[in-house]
Symmetry: C2
Amino acid sequence: MTSDGASGGAGGESVLLRAVRILETLTPDTPALTVTEIARRSGLHVATASRLVASLVGLGLLTRRPDRRLTVGVRLWELASRASPALGLREAAMPFLEDLHAVVGHSVQLGVLDGAEVIFVERLVAPGAVVNFTRIAGRLPVHASSSGVVLLAHAPPELQEEVLAAPLERFTARTVTTPDRLRALLADVRRQGAAVLPGHLHADAAGVAVPVRDAVGAVVAALSVVVPDDGSAHLRVPLLQASARGIGRALAGPVTTRNSSR
Amino acid sequence: MTSDGASGGAGGESVLLRAVRILETLTPDTPALTVTEIARRSGLHVATASRLVASLVGLGLLTRRPDRRLTVGVRLWELASRASPALGLREAAMPFLEDLHAVVGHSVQLGVLDGAEVIFVERLVAPGAVVNFTRIAGRLPVHASSSGVVLLAHAPPELQEEVLAAPLERFTARTVTTPDRLRALLADVRRQGAAVLPGHLHADAAGVAVPVRDAVGAVVAALSVVVPDDGSAHLRVPLLQASARGIGRALAGPVTTRNSSR
């Protein structure tokens, strides 16, 4: 193996990859696991998992709780968050998300593209809100979510072709599952500057999303709300577009034009 | 070196530690660096840094921008965030932080203890707000910030003694810098259930913090506001205490008792 261990090792798999496989076992549904559970879920030998877990705990990337279960360490969260481009976007967007949330109620979220999925960097949700599948740091497929369709409509052509060529999973009777219909939907979204997807992901909910553009006009995120599917979802578009313009302005420069005291 | 590379390697330093040293070079002030800059700041040879950076990019933990600079990857943020205990706390607290922010204006923040420092897991800030040193995923020393004093007052005795035995950095004329005065302050905070620190960190600002307790009464976070130092900071305490109780309730169970539509 090479001296930095970035490749090689047992089975040619790198230390870093094995560390990632360990971190991947900790999910919203399983945020705290024993070493044995981590070994089983990561497919690593218990001895290997145990050694790597000890190193990760030593570096603060994992935390060992009093009950011996492992959780994500504050240090890992800090390293990932403090210089994250997603966090800068999120901070610029936050005042606008708060205002939208206060006015619209239900769920307001901000998503970015990662591969062929949307990952949500922020989400404000009302407890009594309509059903919503998103979580912070959670993912949704691009073809079935309003945020995803907005991001895909402005993504590089190669990514669009990749998604159009792959199977399009059906979530409801209204999910777009054929390449032709998805292609037409993307064209609509580009023309209208918004995606309104009633019942595409869940029968009772409608997603409405608009693009957030940076100073040079590139689409860097999707701003979306999830509301009841009562036929009025499209009425949210102008409000979302106004908020998205505000976020774009905040991204472009210091946030000095807006006074959020209410 | 061991087969998993968690220890050993050049100079006996582990791959994981070197990966962390690389990630540490990306900060709020330097969120995008070239490989050469990363090598210099991490103290690694360019060849070593280059190899490790390539592995980190391959795993999605770093992203190489079109200008070749490296940034924190969405995948790293996702792994750190989706199962983070800090994020669960933050999600439970968010509706209350929004309400506080709307009512108090200025800055509202939620901090947890990591070693002898406070790390802020959430922060809502008004653009026209009084000066504030916190950032999301930023740190402050425990002795000089209201959040820190609250967390230290309820920390294990060993940690208290460790902080009391170390030098206490002075930020303003009013910073508490002697062990005796800090010990008295911690006792006050425990008795009064709040910390009010006018001008301890910055001459023009006052920090006010209260503990957030989980279902069994353990202090898990500090809820704080930073307001102008006009002598009225202590008037915020009851509002903060009411919000902290709400957060504690939300932490204890499903958030079903509160309707955030406004």
